[in-house]
Symmetry: C2
């Protein structure tokens, strides 16, 4: 049985349809033909007519390319929900973001957005804590969470690591995070690092009277991640960090299922997928998958303020998507009702310093974790002063006081601004 | 402490160094400066000087950019092995293929190749079976393994799926593989599919006197994959298939550790990473990681004969890399000694038909699995005839008989060539 075309511009997507939006540059064929190849390869078709495909299957499962924009570049496909296994993120991506990127029929192809229907939304767990749970746990009710990544990214032994963490908390930060290339090293073993760092976390909490958070990077083979989460639990930690792209979706779903901690998602390698605006997969699409799979916090960039490449708009659109209950169709964004899936707390990180805070706050709002690496430990007077400068800047910004004004009475902030400037 | 530069053209990589090769297009800065940012971000550095980085750490762990080609595009970096956690593929990739793709400093960046030192090679398990183990298990000692992917990719119920599988085996194929978007569906549950398909596998083995292989797609959340592997074991299956990019490296390593089956690796989504020659990650680099992590079989393309995009050369280079004991430095390829890691059997799949076989055999050699989807089930007389045509073509090619000659006495092959032609 041969399928002539998947294009059906009169098709109205049903409430149970999964919808994808692709940017498409065909390769020596028409957009329509390339779109047909994409719809086929991501569902029931192949490159030739086959005897095993019957009318019944076609009627039930054939997707519809229901929109091609006037520039012949943006296509939208509606898929019957039964083409996907509920709750299985790897399978869903193998279909709608799988073989199609490698076909001769396309020169460039980018998965820009995914609309998940309620049936699929309901099959995933989403964040265990979400923004509300995190606010409750950290007892920081209004302002952004302020954190640091221990620097150097890798190289400190366990005791030095814990000491830098302590200085950061003592200086006024809420959060300390491992960097993504620090897991369990010859000179800094996971278990010993937990022991030393949580010991000083307890000390910092006692001394400051504030809740202090450590986000240890448990990224590894799945059972090793579960072991490490158990160690975190033994020391009274509330968070785990997983590098979600290099770990992968199967492991991420496992951690969501089995680890009752706040799940902080780092996104190293995403740029290999997201950077080229004409190919790969948008960070928006990745972020939606991460929300469904259940990350509580997700790195989304710095709205073009830091060292990472992205437009401010892109970053704010992603924040809106992961923090809202419902997003309506606008520009090239598909509608999404998140139903019972909790909102994810956005994380800004990469090249930030105290001088970035007012602009960042204005662009990204209060519901955000601001993470500072070099912008904390690079303070002329060291980590504790760097942490204090960040807290001073954030408190000032929350009260609408300018950093210049605040720096008159906050020595640490004054030194930081002298080194880093104001964004 | 500030690091002035990571460039050290006099540096001679040591036997314990991990070496990466990147294609680099800097963004509004010099190649040297962008290379420095890459070396920093993938190891011990950040965007500013920091007080917590001391001379001892720099001396021990600072990587060296030891080569920049004359066009200022290809750079090579040597990393101290202690920057990586042995046996932790997600962590290694988070370092050398992580944040760097998203930095403002680069416009395009591609991880082209990775040289793994013995210390890291020894920390991974590699394939459990490898080519030799697969040859022994399948009792196919010399010729390529011949297989099909059940088509339509998705849509058949369990019984129809099993029937198509049976026809394929009965017609002469060794292998039947699930397609990547078929996992456990509302109309085709994993367990029932196993029951029906293995029942007919046993029947086909009895009738043909040949070993018949079924490769079920277990791709899902990690524990669900383990459940499914157990079901495969209960029915006497010897293989599992995992879609390695959408599953991710943590889950892949878990399956290698805990499932004593031949591990067939599909690679859906790889094109999002590999397609753009100036960005992302090469299939060669992915294939090396997959070999280390322990896939026994890996899809690498069809040497430009099928529907997927790649040059024949690229494909053959990857095959050489995953099937050899040792690869010497040549052109842009880094040297690699695989020590005790077994070779991986290459899989060619995507748009192949009986007429493709002689050319494919010539290009890719005997140590290969040839997989036919539409090229089998699209036969004018159906699946069994398609399977027979494939076997006839392969047997002829192995004996040096031309397909035209063979078609005179093989009716199924004649019909196939009439429909598909000769590649």
């Amino acid at each position: 049985m041969k399928i002539k075309t998947y294009i059906d511009k009169g098709y109205k997507p049903g409430r149970d349809d999964l919808i994808t939006e692709y940017y498409l540059e065909p390769n020596r064929i028409s957009t329509e033909k390339a779109a047909d190849h994409i719809a086929a390869e991501s569902s029931i078709g192949t490159w030739t007519d086959i005897g095993t495909l019957d009318q019944r299957i076609i009627k039930r499962l054939k997707p519809s390319i229901f929109d091609i924009d006037k520039n012949n570049r943006i296509i939208k496909i509606a898929y019957h929900h039964e083409l996907f296994e509920p709750g299985n993120m790897p399978e869903i991506l193998s279909s709608i973001a799988g073989n199609i990127f490698g076909m001769k029929s396309v020169r460039n192809l980018r998965l820009m957005d995914i609309h998940f229907p309620k049936r699929i939304i309901d099959s995933f767990k989403g964040p265990r804590y979400g923004i509300e749970g995190i606010r409750k746990l950290t007892k920081v009710s209004r302002r952004p969470l302020l954190g640091t990544i221990i620097k150097p990214k890798i190289g400190l032994d366990e005791k030095s690591h814990a000491r830098v963490a302590y200085e950061s908390w003592a200086g006024g930060l809420d959060v300390v995070k491992d960097d993504e290339n620090l897991s369990s090293m010859s000179f800094n073993s996971f278990k010993k690092r937990m022991k030393e760092t949580f010991r000083l976390r307890d000390k910092a909490e006692k001394e400051t009277g504030e809740k202090k958070i450590y986000m240890p990077n448990i990224t590894a083979e799945t059972f090793e991640m579960l072991n490490r989460a158990k160690i975190v639990d033994d020391f009274g930690g509330e968070y785990v960090m997983v590098d979600i792209i290099t770990t992968g979706w199967a492991g991420l779903q496992t951690i969501r299922d089995r680890v009752k901690k706040v799940l902080h998602a780092h996104r190293a390698m995403h740029g290999a997928l997201t950077r080229n605006p004409r190919h790969g997969m948008s960070m928006l699409a990745i972020a939606k998958c991460a929300r469904l799979a259940g990350t509580d916090q997700l790195h989304i960039g710095t709205a073009s303020i830091g060292k990472m490449n992205e437009t401010g708009e892109e970053c704010m659109d992603i924040e809106k998507e992961i923090e809202s209950k419902r997003v309506f169709e606008h520009q090239n964004f598909l509608a999404q009702n998140w139903f019972d899936i909790k909102p994810v707390l956005a994380v800004a990180s990469g090249g930030l310093h105290p001088g970035s805070i007012p602009k960042l706050l204005k662009k990204m709002g209060n519901d955000i974790v601001m993470q500072f690496g070099g912008g904390c430990h690079g303070h002329p007077d060291g980590t504790r002063a760097g942490a204090s400068a960040i807290r001073q800047a954030a408190d000032a910004a929350m009260q609408g006081v300018s950093l210049k004004e605040q720096a008159k009475k906050s020595q640490e902030l004054a030194s930081a601004l002298k080194k880093f400037g104001i964004a």
